[in-house]
Symmetry: C2
Subunit: 767 residues, 2 copies
Amino acid sequence: MTSEPWVGQPLPRPDGPAKATGRAHYIHDLTRPGMLYGKIKFSEHAHARIIRIDTSKAEALPGVRAVITGFNTPEIRFGFLRDNFALKADKVRQFRDEIAAVAAIDPDIAAEAISLIEVEYEPLPAVFDTDAAMAEGAILIHDKDARGRPVANNRMPLEYHHRSGDLEAGHRDAKWVHEATYSTPLIQQSCLGTAGCIAEFDPSGNVTLWAKTQIPFLAQKDFNRALKDMGLKGRNSRVIVPALGGAFGSGLDTHAYEYISILLAYTAGRPVKILYDREEEFACLSPRQSATTHVRQGIDSNGRLTFREVHVLQDNGAYGSWGATFPSVMLLPATSLYRVPNVRFDADLIYTNNTYCQAMRGYGNPEVTWAIESSIDELAEISGLDRLELRRINCNVPNEVSPMGLNITSCGLRECIDRAALNVGWTDKKAPNIKRGVGIASLIHVGGSGRIYRSDASGLTLKLDDFGNIYVASGGVEMGQGLHAALTASVCDSVGVRPEQVHIVQTDTSTCPWDVGTHASRGAFVACNAAIEAAAKLREQIFAHTRELFPEDTADGELELRDGVVFVVDGTWKMDLARLARAIHFRAGGTMLNSAAFYDPPTDLPDWNKGIGNMSATYAFGAQSAEVEVDTDTGDIKIIRMASIYDVGRVLNPVTLAGQCYGGLAQGVGYTLYEEIRTDKGRMLNPSFTDYKIPTIHEMDFPVVLAFVGTKDDFGPHGAKGVGEPGLVPTAPAIANAVYDAIGVRIRDLPITPEKVIAALREAGRD
Amino acid sequence: MTSEPWVGQPLPRPDGPAKATGRAHYIHDLTRPGMLYGKIKFSEHAHARIIRIDTSKAEALPGVRAVITGFNTPEIRFGFLRDNFALKADKVRQFRDEIAAVAAIDPDIAAEAISLIEVEYEPLPAVFDTDAAMAEGAILIHDKDARGRPVANNRMPLEYHHRSGDLEAGHRDAKWVHEATYSTPLIQQSCLGTAGCIAEFDPSGNVTLWAKTQIPFLAQKDFNRALKDMGLKGRNSRVIVPALGGAFGSGLDTHAYEYISILLAYTAGRPVKILYDREEEFACLSPRQSATTHVRQGIDSNGRLTFREVHVLQDNGAYGSWGATFPSVMLLPATSLYRVPNVRFDADLIYTNNTYCQAMRGYGNPEVTWAIESSIDELAEISGLDRLELRRINCNVPNEVSPMGLNITSCGLRECIDRAALNVGWTDKKAPNIKRGVGIASLIHVGGSGRIYRSDASGLTLKLDDFGNIYVASGGVEMGQGLHAALTASVCDSVGVRPEQVHIVQTDTSTCPWDVGTHASRGAFVACNAAIEAAAKLREQIFAHTRELFPEDTADGELELRDGVVFVVDGTWKMDLARLARAIHFRAGGTMLNSAAFYDPPTDLPDWNKGIGNMSATYAFGAQSAEVEVDTDTGDIKIIRMASIYDVGRVLNPVTLAGQCYGGLAQGVGYTLYEEIRTDKGRMLNPSFTDYKIPTIHEMDFPVVLAFVGTKDDFGPHGAKGVGEPGLVPTAPAIANAVYDAIGVRIRDLPITPEKVIAALREAGRD
């Protein structure tokens, strides 16, 4: 008998059957007694003063129960920088700015009422690219930040810098230097479940939100602040999380529609549901930022990196979200992907009149890894060094401290690189047919949570009932990634029960313990660590009661609990946990057992001005490689095969892990080749899956070798590291490097479309 | 500053505003995505074999999703004696027996489908009174009990007996002996919210019940057993309790309709709701048992009780419920109301083909107090002793142990009697106008829980959040009695916060700790005791962290927490609890605080064959008095005024306490004068509030003096005793005694209707 019979097994997801059979309840499925349907009126200008809003026709429509604007409701500021408003009263700063909203007895009436609202604007000059926004004399989108400080040149009040080592020395020591600029587009998180919420007040002024969120407890904080803004100081919000149809970072912030639901529910005195349709999901929710990354790095005659300079220019659109803090994670690859002694990193975060942006899986890492890993290949070419060898020379190693101060404990990167290369038929020689090529790229990512808040903790409680069931209340959010499967296996092995005995209760701020949120690939890492701690406490109680109740049977033996049976290890005595729980309960002075843990990983909140701090308890590594075929007539890129080799520590569940990795890879392929939100002066041009291309089974119809190198992390629960995001981090440079290998032209702005390939071939004279 | 600023204050009920404004969600208000509506086909015979059930027409009706009978579903046995079946396959034993059920897409289709089900019966001889049922040769309603033992003479397999002292000596010492038989009718709990539930399966075979129950955790046990019967062994049920529109004992059992919902939901693969209409609530749910109580007791020349013999004959109808255990509480007044040295108690519990019965507020106590307190007046009359003086002579006193072994700690009964008498203008002389009279009666009841199960415990957890809110998860059920108000005040004072900081989470077996159920006037007693214990643990943590975080500020001082502020008692330092919670949380090694308690009162589970055992941690006492006017032409009884004086220990909340007492009194008045379910051969004749009379504001339009004598119980939380049931216990004898005082005739069978008064006056020759 192994001591961990469930961890590592392909345990079916506990949330899987309900989702597969249509019985899971997404926000789309939920109603509340007396519920109204809310709808929002969005701005039709990218930048304009609001002169007048006439809601009289909407108010007169039968079935309408509330019509609100920024003029008849309290001002609610929100957002990471508190620069956004639930309803805009003075001016709009982007298409989709929320101007007014209605609640009605059905969705059609709500939509009709919205169409009856008349808004008069005074258009203002607008800026749609970062250069124009930063130019002297450019119109200011925000005059002042939330603290009343002026916003110069549309620069957001956020600073991210890093200096380490001796850059001058790094320059001196470099024999070859490469410098280039790489860009990534606006893309959508493309959740199959669109955004929505229900807000319901109790008569005391406390509000409950059924919210599509990754951060129920930070959302509670935001909503409590909104209640205060509404004159309900001291009143409380409760956040309940239904089944999520994907989030990918879009649930990391609270949203205007949530505050509008709150305002509508308060005004109407009834629960209000707002549900975005697909077009609203595209056009009125925040996509991933576009970014321009300038990288300059050099190697010495031995191929060792001597310095690296990275500068990121990020277009955040009209407002700041948690996504504006992407540079906090961009610092990881910039400073710590490969061993580089002298590093500079700076980020400029710019307001424009484009749609404001938010987080997405990978959180800045893909953008910068795209630049660095493309540049590594270019360095190899100009130096004449082998691309793989250059990576091997500079490979991260275990037990190093990176320039950022990342304490890299376990690291299987070198093995990842070698195996990734092997699995796409890597050869030092270029393929004889120039149209085929191979490429590779590596990744480093947080693998042991990522501290971006004052607490990086996750609470968890366990409750044992009379039937041997264990109720697990965790603050973490299952958003499709397999958290509940990982947690179930961890609880099974940590406590010693079978999967069917584990019941994970719904995420709810009133009944679950605090957790900072599900992001940074941290869900399983922190929840399982908390489970292990809580389980140890529960087992201690179980064994103590067992010895007290059955002193003679258990006097000399070591006690163990496995698969729901408590037993003496020598086999002389055993009892079903359910029966034991009842024996502990049903007696004079009886009790029932529960335990709690609050796991805060041993990490530092970095100083972002210095870009130094060990933000994660451990780090995930990996490499992806691709073999591609390029049609030089059409510019089409066909992926022949790929390999994804990761060091994510111990594998908790091979099936859900594969799901995470394949899903990430598909998103990475989309980012690399297809996905891009097109805008015209701030207006989105392709708000639908018809015009916005994500990979389908046809695009993903190539073999993928997925493998894991066998590190076991000391900090990781059962040895595991976090794995939510890495799957898409190195995909773009791996493919771009393969394209270069195939056809000798390099595309530095994503996505790598056929048009760009053809244009590059023409420019290089190879068409 | 008092150390308990909230306990004892007229704190508004936290559940009040939602209920008053229509925002509370009763089972009537709830829906689930994809939910179907269930409806039951009830028996049209009191006793018959089922020959054939034809469901083909129902199955063919469009919109019908499931049709089930006892023939196409697994047998589910349930009930306290496991003598009942979710659906009856062999025979029906009462009108209302469940024969078949359907689930359909709307309630009308379900009703139509039910009307299309054809049932062929073979009628059997039936018995409708206990004498006929016990007669030799009577048809047996159950051949065997659940353990396969024969059921002789339709006697239920339940024994309740008591013998104490020396009855022979008691008889010898008696100078005056009185003996008579008193009866009480079938009455309805008359919940304004009718019965209902929703059952929903997950794909793994676990079921969630939204159930109108007082015993969520015992219900979970019952439902888990049903799942096992259905072949789903090891699967789990979850019970969530919505707002309850009254329960009064009707939620103490699980019901056939709940199992039928489970079967329908399992069969249809969709959630199923069953909701009783008012006629079903009357005719198809179980009322309070009728009982016939024979009492014989004697007093010596000094008026001291020398013995008492009580025999109860209880018609339980066709099946056994928890209500069949009424004698467990009948033992209290029989053995322990007034000091009586030599006692005999026996109960016969009989099956008949009447509707089967269940628990109701007071749980057997009103039935027996009715007999004893009427008999006391009759004893006074035959002995020539003053009625009040006789009671004073025999009054219970503190620190006595009664013949049942009840350890009576605090007891303010004598003061209750005196003040009750005083407040209805008591006089030793009969009122000059013979039509007016006064009466009094006393009560003893469990006041510190009442152990009727292997555990009498109540679990509770407290969770402190970053905003200073305390989340209280209790296993107890708020069913209108004010539990949440009591618990809020207790948490406020035990922790040291303000009421708006206290949030009581919804009762749910998956998130709340175990509790045996809300009955026996135990809710506030056990929950507040658990709260006090959990609060002490929480405060200990808060103060320890405070001293660690602010060593210099708190070094020398005693720490206190009141109204959400932690402070040094000498006034040198203070901090808001919310801010402190964040300071404890947001730091290296930070944590969030929670605590748990599992309070099991120090009581004994009596041996029911001996009727001995201290079943409650303390006992409530009280006396009610009435002045009545009787119209000897019409027999109408008009209550002029009443007084209710109770010893319930410390008053937790005067407003909710008054609500409990007035509500109980109104039910007592209904029991005494109006309420009676009329049946004809087992068929209910008056299943509506039109034909079943409960008191309204018109009947209750008389002054009531309500007062409390100031004991403070050592075991009680904050000194309080339980008070849920006493309000209706002595009402009937107090009024009957007043009627006798007024007109000289005694009615011994409830209700005391005008017809009975006129008949008695005629018989006595006083008409």
